[in-house]
Symmetry: C2
Subunit: 338 residues, 2 copies
């Protein structure tokens, strides 16, 4: 395990995500250039709409995993740039389709694409980016990489469909929820790291270590995300909360809070998640219940478990700045929430 002091984010004012970004800066610049080049089309609505999401300040965490994995394996070619761009395109396509299907109104603080351009264009631009992702992968000439990312894409879609079942459904179990998270989020984190590692000639255990890192980081990341959506502190800091609540998604904080609810709280959850429209004060009440039952804390404890797994997955690998940054990102992912 890393020493506690190296885990502290921001002790030098630099988060481990920024540290990793600096380590792969040249590759990330090349990836960004490729992303902007390949999202182009003579049909101008496509880059206009794609840019809305791609340039909205996302951290590029997934493509960074691809670049970091390739770097850790001593890869000296340039196929990892294609892969990283492909991973970001798949992620963006998923977000675009998610915007449409969930009728969500905000994504990264901007008005969701479907509200500006309509559902129609949003779905189709997602399809375009998804196709571009496969074109980028074909250019690498690696069938293994295509296999990994095509498989992950199918699993992501399965995860999103599974999630539909749990919407407005308080009977959703923790087991179902974890399956959804494993599919809709962790599969792409895992594939991003695995595909980058595959480019290196470092053998199966190297690839598997990075795949497991990505998978566990992905679960931790989603658990924290779902916890923060009910965080009163987050709300006080002026950050958006309540997206999941408004969409009646049954995430772990709700599953845990509902399991611990008294009659009054139980009736509340029934009404706001399974019943009719929510009122103005309902989100605040939901946050109070989620925090009061320790559901946030417990969700974070689970996230900590997966973050530890992610860190442990990297331990057999040779120590390097990149490995340290990846480890610290797993810790940071959980600690940012406290």
């Amino acid at each position: 395990m890393l020493k506690p002091e190296t885990r502290k984010p921001g002790s030098d004012g630099v988060s481990p995500v920024e540290r990793l970004h600096a380590l792969v800066a040249a590759d990330m610049t090349a990836t960004d250039k490729l992303i902007h080049g390949r999202m182009g089309s003579a049909v101008s609505l496509i880059p206009d709409l794609a840019r809305h999401l791609i340039d909205s300040g996302g951290k590029r965490l997934r493509p960074m995993l691809t670049l970091a994995a390739a770097r850790m394996g001593g890869y000296t070619g340039d196929k990892h740039i294609n892969l990283a761009a492909a991973v970001e395109f798949i992620h963006t396509a998923t977000l675009l389709h998610d915007d449409v299907v969930d009728a969500s109104t905000l994504r990264r603080g901007k008005v969701a694409a479907n509200l500006v351009w309509g559902n129609k264009a949003t779905v189709l631009v997602g399809d375009f980016l998804f196709s571009r992702a496969f074109q980028l992968m074909v250019e690498t000439g690696s069938l293994r990489v295509l296999d990994i990312l095509a498989g992950a894409s199918a699993v992501i879609a399965e995860g999103e469909v599974m999630q539909l079942k749990s919407e407005s459904n308080l009977a959703t179990t923790e087991e179902h929820y974890l399956k959804v998270v494993g599919a809709k989020t962790a599969a792409l984190f895992a594939a991003a790291a695995e595909s980058g590692a595959t480019l290196c000639e470092r053998g199966a255990s190297f690839v598997e270590a990075l795949r497991r890192y990505g998978e566990n980081l992905g679960v931790a990341f989603q658990l924290v995300d779902d916890a923060l959506d009910y965080s009163g502190r987050q709300a006080m800091m002026g950050k958006a909360v309540g997206d999941d609540f408004r969409e009646a998604k049954v995430t772990l904080p709700v599953i845990l809070a509902y399991a611990r609810a008294d009659a009054k709280a139980g009736a509340f959850w029934k009404r706001v998640i399974e019943g009719g429209p929510q009122g103005e004060a309902d989100l605040e009440q939901a946050i109070t219940y989620v925090e009061g039952t320790g559901a946030i804390q417990e969700t974070m404890t689970r996230a900590r478990h997966y973050a530890d797994n992610a860190v442990a997955a990297l331990e057999p690998l040779v120590h390097s700045e990149t490995r340290a940054a990846l480890s610290d990102i797993a810790d940071f992912c959980v600690e940012r929430a406290y």
Copy 2:
């Protein structure tokens, strides 16, 4: 050119599509089996929704082109089965996404999937099938085939986005319309034939002939489809007409009818295509205008041109029953409309 009598559809009661189907029957059975196997998922909503469209009696024309091309090239392996299933999955994914985005209510006479399962699930099942298509292609081990179909998928999405521009827009030019048709329909016909041909070791001119056949057949097919949507005869036969009209799509029959409209007809088109809601009698009026201006006939004349190109593309190839059936399909595609 083929002799006229061989072109006649139905002189022996068997359409050339049925003849081609019989020629590739064993491969088509294997393809259908693979399609049904691979649309499966532990997430039961996925096969339930996919089956709704896949088992709704589509002719499987696109995968048949793949199988026919492989057969013509003397291909003896089994990768064409994977490819044919992949082509059908891409087609199905496109239809599912089209159902969502166009809010269309009927597809092949059944209630559209989005009205039964909702937009959300419909988009995601499309994504799942699209991913499965790429998995099937990866299994063939042919990067060339992946390149062809990933490229076609991007072009299809571009075509669908281009089409958005022409919706409710009477300024749409014939040139724009043909670009849309080339991208949203002909690209997949071309890729279906080209990818099947690529499996054979028959050289570039063989592949190019089949690609050109597919492309021209695709344009002819779409032109006929767009003409029939305004066909009074079709309406009298109890077949659905007016889908494009209700969606205010500006297809060639409308472009031509509008170009020839007098003041009264011009005002009508402005109101029903660019204006507010359509009334009960508007479709009948639209058909009268389209037929009265010769716009149907002229659309069919253009279709004939592309069908002839398709037939001509095959002429350099060795004569065979399969080649004859493909030629006849191009003719039949246009003649079925008279």
